[in-house]
Amino acid sequence: MAPPRPRRRSGTGPGSWTGFLLALPLLLFLAALVLWPVSRLVAAAAHGPDAFRVVLAAGRYRTALVNSLLLSAAAAGAAVLLSLVPAWVLARERFAGRRLLRATMALPLSFSGVLVGFLMVVMLGRIGAIPELVRWLTGRELLAGVAYTPAGLFIAYLYFEVPRAVLTLEAAFRRFPPELDAVARTLGASARERLLRVRLPLLAPALRASLALTFAASMGSFGVALILSRRFTVAPVEIYTELTGFSNDAVAGALCLLLALATLAADRLLVEGGERWRRAGSGGGLRQAAASRARP
């Protein structure tokens, strides 16, 4: 790395050096525990005979990758849709019990995947709470064992994505300037017009960001599928099986890299692609003003 030279904020040469020294442990840490391992991962994937071709050829690995992609995308979309209203309510309304609701939403954030998998088995397993309840109420066998199907995996993904989506959206909604909406209303805009022409354009970046976040969370989710997936397989489980079961480092490495690339690509596409699309469109004065107002 080039020796640091002062740039912004006056000619504080010593300050710049101090800053560099303060960040130096972090730099070394990242180099040793992120960059170097990732380079080893790339090397492992490149070492095997055509690991990428093996992974991308039709078969178990590709199915797992596609399953991961589709399931994560579906769960991210559904989670963000489910979270819109709760995030708005938590951000903008004041009512008794608000803090409790918010704390409940935040609780699953630190649950590991296996715990979520167990909760799914408890609720929707072969003798889960919901099937038992249904049987007690109606006397019919319904929903037993759903936890082990792709639908069960989807619900489990929702379980840990909804809290993530609610909390990121809430932060964005709190910065949304309510006056704009009110002004639109006084100018005679209908509820639908306000939603489509004021709220959605302003909140689009937050929506895309929360989509990217929830998508990344479920792409890497490993514990849930480990507990729940039976015939249906997702990429992290295949990585684990290849690594520990068959010591097939090349295939595991290739799967890891493809998983990471897909996640990062989705992130860039959603966050930056959307940004570019927005700028290319007719950035109205109101929207510009609102955007600058929304970011103090």
Partner: protein
């Protein structure tokens, strides 16, 4: 003039009801699982554990006997990872905001990048790079990779909320660099530092990907043990283990809430 900035009453009520419903659906499985730890355990105990576990107290004693060393291991990891994550992340976050140097934006982006990468990928990468290293060190490293970004982001966001002129003022009043840090920066950042520590604690306590991939029979964290208990033990044992796992999480999450943790995480958009 008052602008109509509030939602109509009916929409407000429906919104709150929907929020409560979503929260209830998130809470229900936890409640059922916890109730399971207090269900009649004799039957399960005799039938599937091979150990005559009688009553709730005996169930918890049995579970602690099974997984006590994993609990201890997790506590050790958390105790090592939390201060290290703060020491690595907080000074760097301060440098990024107050003492910028060439390339610091790039470094900051790299520091929070692990949050956008699927958890299992960096775990596998660590194994590829240092599979032979001592397991405890490797585990701690894996937890650090995912917790340092949280510190960098939380402290960075907190610093953005404070006026840098305070430090300039202190300097013009003759305070030395150390005095400024000790008497101005650290007190101002105290809530953010506490929130960071709690976040690190919660994440490290619940971390599974790295823990499970690196687990050996002797060095195994509690979440990795949870997997074993879910796949091998009876329901009350699994439920009791879950409750033991949750016990530290609930106060930590409540404390993060009370200290305004979400507000500090507002840069969460990757």
């Amino acid at each position: 003039m008052r602008l109509p900035t509030h939602s109509p009453r009916l929409a407000r009520r429906l919104g709150i009801a929907w929020t409560a419903l979503v929260a209830a659906m998130l809470a229900a499985p936890i409640a059922v699982a916890i109730a399971g730890a207090f269900s009649r355990s004799e039957w399960y105990g005799l039938r599937s554990e091979g150990a005559p576990v009688q009553g709730t107290a005996a169930l918890f004693v049995y579970v602690l006997g099974l997984w006590g060393h994993n609990l201890l291991r997790s506590a050790q990891i958390v105790a090592v990872v939390t201060p290290l994550a703060l020491l690595l992340g907080a000074p760097a976050a301060y440098a990024f905001r107050r003492l910028p140097f060439p390339g610091c934006r790039w470094l900051e982006a790299a520091a929070v990048a692990p949050l956008a990468v699927p958890g299992i990928v960096l775990a596998v990468a660590l194994i590829e790079a240092a599979g032979g290293a001592p397991r405890f060190a490797l585990l701690a490293a894996g937890h650090l990779v995912y917790t340092v970004p949280l510190v960098v982001r939380t402290v960075g966001n907190a610093l953005q909320g404070h006026d840098p002129q305070l430090e300039d003022a202190a300097r013009t009043l003759g305070a030395g660099r150390l005095a400024i840090v000790r008497r101005l920066v650290v007190p101002l950042l105290a809530p953010a530092l506490v929130v960071s520590a709690l976040l690190v604690l919660a994440v490290s306590w619940g971390e599974f990907n790295v823990s499970f991939l690196l687990a050996t029979p002797r060095v195994q964290t509690f979440p990795a043990a949870l997997y074993l208990t879910y796949t091998t033990n009876s329901f009350p044992v699994a439920a009791a283990a879950t409750l033991i796992f949750l016990l530290p999480v609930i106060p930590v999450v409540a404390a993060i809430q009370a200290l305004g943790g979400e507000e500090l995480q507002r840069g969460a958009q990757p």
